[in-house]
């Protein structure tokens, strides 16, 4: 084959990529990459700088601070040194926490920068891939097809992988999740407030038709009904409409509104409010209050009472307070309305004052510590929201266990509260003090009452105080005092003519209300914890052994009958129309005659 001259090749084109090799986003991506790169670099340098700088402001064992503190040991009275330490300490702490905040902020900013930089770099350096040698040299037309199929296969695998990863994350139980769930569990059990609440409140007349608080309307222990049961028998079940076992043997009293009976109960670990149907005795609901704690061993609980405060109801909600300081409101269906904690009070036997209601206010007597501590106050909370409406000035009394009453006395409405050593009255609308009298002594447990236009207190002495004073009325308004038969637990009772006192050892002492003259003293030879009650001219004296003595009200003792239940009785029963709701240690009894 003759030699032929080599064909003359056309000159090589300038170094510009062939059309299609250039990505359309390449130029903007290149610029973005530059900006993001510089941004990230600046942030990274700032972070490194901040790291080294932070080592100089680390408040732990800072050399200058250590030296200053050492110098102070040598010169303990040098005020200048102290000032220098304080200033440096503040400066180091502030700088350290500023540094931490800066690092956290910069970290997020850097992450944002990197998220922009990486895709920008990808497109800025994008180049069309050259066909690989091999089969594509012979069949270059296959390259495009295989490349497309490869891309599809990789995408499918990526989708599968992502799906599996999501499944794994969803189904895997992270170790920290276990811990965090455990930590969050008590918080979830917490009661969340209901969105809408009924802000209305009952009138005094409406309250008087029910048994809304400890010892009924105005805390007087007097039932307005004349058909309260007088005869029942635990053995034959005669006169017992129903009885129902209770979840707790706590000594607080039942409160009743319409066909609902409310009580609370608890042990060393938990506290609950519960509701019983007054017609059937069925336990309708029980709800926990506050965080449950570790329960004491049974031997340590032995002989102690928990949930001693009686709850209160305004016909819309029921309110309960416990010795832990937990205060809660539930509606009649058992739905939580609000709850709060007042903190555990400093009270050697545990808080036991019950709740009082006035208009739309829930009144909490929160006496604690000693009289000098200034920790005792009375709160009024909005019944619908739980918001604090007023709080009295610190009360000059120590811990007490009596329940306040709001009652009409001397042409005005007074909130009456006792504590050692003061009987104090307040304006229930504002919490402003009206008057005080130094007539209380010892461990104040029996609650005050208002009867016959007088305030009656029985705390180591029986005192009748006129309610129309202001300021300190100890020397001006105390009508009379007596010292015999003073109860230690049971509250006094009055029918407007006489005052009846019942000691826990069973001595019934009666005084004339107007004069303080003693009428009689009678030994009942039984133990009593429940306060006496009165209905239709009859005294109801509920013995701890389950025996209730009925006696005629008046200046002479006359026993009208005895009724026995096989249960211990610590709580003051509720005396309603045709019924008595009596809480025993184990059961709630509804006493009354079945309809013929």
């Amino acid at each position: 084959m003759p030699d032929q001259p080599a064909p003359k090749l056309p000159p090589l084109p300038a170094k510009t990529p062939a059309p299609g090799d250039e990505h359309p986003w390449k130029e903007p991506a290149r610029r973005t990459a530059w900006v993001a790169g510089i941004y990230c670099a600046v942030l990274a340098v700032a972070l490194i700088f901040s790291y080294f700088q932070s080592r100089q402001v680390n408040p732990v064992d800072h050399p200058r601070l250590v030296a200053l503190k050492a110098a102070l040991v040598q010169k303990p009275t040098d005020e200048n040194l102290k000032q220098q330490i304080r200033e440096l300490d503040l400066e180091l702490r502030a700088a350290y926490f500023r540094h931490l905040a800066r690092v956290q902020r910069s970290g997020w900013l850097l992450l944002g920068g990197v998220l922009v930089l990486l895709p920008a770099l990808h497109f800025a350096t994008w180049r069309r891939r050259l066909p690989r040698p091999g089969k594509y040299v012979v069949r270059p037309d296959l390259f495009e097809r295989d490349a497309r199929l490869s891309r599809l296969a990789v995408t499918a695998v990526a989708v599968l992988g992502a799906g599996l990863a999501v499944w794994a994350v969803k189904s895997a139980h992270s170790d920290l999740d276990v811990v965090l769930a455990k930590q969050a569990a008590p918080a979830k059990a917490q009661i969340s407030p209901a969105p809408a609440v009924d802000a209305s409140f009952p009138s005094r007349e409406e309250m008087a038709r029910h048994w809304p608080r400890f010892r009924g309307p105005e805390g007087a222990g007097v039932s307005p009904y004349t058909n309260v049961p007088v005869r029942w028998d635990g053995e034959s079940s005669e006169g017992i409409l129903w009885k129902t076992p209770l979840p707790y043997g706590s000594p607080n009293s039942p409160v009743v509104w319409s066909n609902r009976v409310f009580m609370t109960g608890g042990n060393s670990g938990q506290r609950e409010v519960f509701c019983v149907d007054a017609d059937t005795g069925k336990l309708l609901w029980q709800r926990p209050v506050g965080k449950p704690g570790k329960r004491l061993p049974p031997e340590d609980e032995e002989g102690r009472f928990y949930a001693t405060s009686t709850c209160a109801t305004d016909g819309r909600r029921v309110f309960a307070i416990f010795e832990t300081g937990d205060l809660a409101a539930f509606d009649f269906q058992g739905q939580p309305v609000w709850q709060k904690s007042l903190g555990k009070p400093d009270n050697q036997y545990g808080h036991s004052a019950s709740l009082e209601l006035y208009k739309n206010l829930l009144i909490v007597q929160w006496d604690q510590a000693d009289e000098e501590a200034g920790k005792s106050v009375i709160y009024a909370f909005n019944t619908a929201t739980g918001a604090e409406v007023w709080k009295t000035a610190p009360r000059p009394v120590g811990a007490s266990w009596s329940t306040p009453v709001v009652a009409s006395a001397g042409n005005r409405t007074l909130l009456v509260a006792t504590g050692n050593p003061w009987l104090m009255t307040y304006d229930p609308d504002t919490g402003a003090e009206v008057w005080r009298a130094q007539v209380c002594h010892g461990e104040v447990t029996p609650s005050p009452i208002v009867a016959g236009g007088l305030v009656i207190t029985a705390n180591e002495e029986l005192v009748a105080t006129k309610p129309d004073g202001t300021g300190d009325v100890t020397k001006t308004h105390v009508l009379w005092k007596q010292l015999d038969g003073i109860p230690d637990i049971c509250s006094p009772l009055s029918d407007g003519k006489y005052v009846y006192l019942l000691t826990s050892s069973g001595i019934l002492t009666v005084y004339e209300l107007a004069t303080g003259k003693r009428q009689y003293e009678h030994e009942l030879e039984m133990e009593f914890k429940a306060s006496p009650a009165l209905a239709a001219g009859k005294l109801y004296l509920f013995g701890e052994n389950g025996v209730t003595i009925l006696a005629a009200a008046g200046p002479k003792f006359q026993e009208l009958g005895r009724n026995k239940l096989s249960d211990l009785v610590f709580a003051t029963p509720a005396l309603m129309e045709g019924r008595i709701y009596l809480r025993g240690r184990n059961q709630l009894y509804c006493l009354g005659q079945k309809a013929p």
Binding site: L72, A153, D175, L176, V178, K182
Partner: protein, 176 residues
């Protein structure tokens, strides 16, 4: 093409095996400090991958003596028993002191400020009841595979514990 399919199949199999291994793996555990082994070296504050550290001081109230002169709160030989900076041991002021009935004071930890430096733990353990001690707080800890504090802990006090019992608190009973 065949190569791609093979790679995809292997990757899928890998994910599946990994998933099964994850499900059937060892019981859940988290890192925690044994307070009885801790030597209060202060490395918890600096070695944790988090800043500030996930290690915080905790106060065991039933063990606390409610001392007026708390050796976990005050510098040794404090100038005065008050809250002034020159008297406080905590470098970040994370311990709050509250007067109760004289002569008792309550000490509580503000975790946001605590950096886990263990200065208070050392003071309380050497001279007090030992109610202050360090714990890894699991609302902060990210539960690394290898805890960077455990690596440097000179007392080897950090180990994995069951996640349903994530804390190792000191107790009066243990001391008794």
């Amino acid at each position: 093409m065949r190569e791609t399919a093979r790679t995809a199949a292997m990757a899928g199999l890998g994910v599946l095996v990994g998933g099964i291994a994850l499900k059937t793996g060892a019981s859940h555990t988290v890192w925690q400090i044994d307070p009885y082994k801790c030597s209060w070296c202060g490395l918890c504050a600096t070695a944790c991958v988090l800043q500030p550290s996930a290690v915080k001081c905790v106060q065991i109230y039933p063990m606390c003596g409610y001392c007026k002169l708390c050796t976990g709160y005050f510098e040794p030989e404090p100038n005065a028993l008050n809250t002034a900076a020159e008297n406080q041991l905590c470098p970040t002021g994370a311990i709050k002191r509250r007067a109760l009935e004289d002569p008792y004071f309550e000490y509580s930890i503000e975790e946001e400020l605590c950096i886990g430096c263990a200065k208070c733990v050392k003071g309380c353990t050497l001279f007090g009841n030992g109610s202050f001690h360090l714990q890894i707080r699991h609302d902060r800890c990210v539960n690394c595979n290898e805890c960077s504090i455990a690596v440097v802990c000179p007392a080897q006090a950090i180990s994995r514990v069951p996640a349903d019992q994530p804390y190792k608190f000191k107790s009066r009973e243990h001391h008794a």
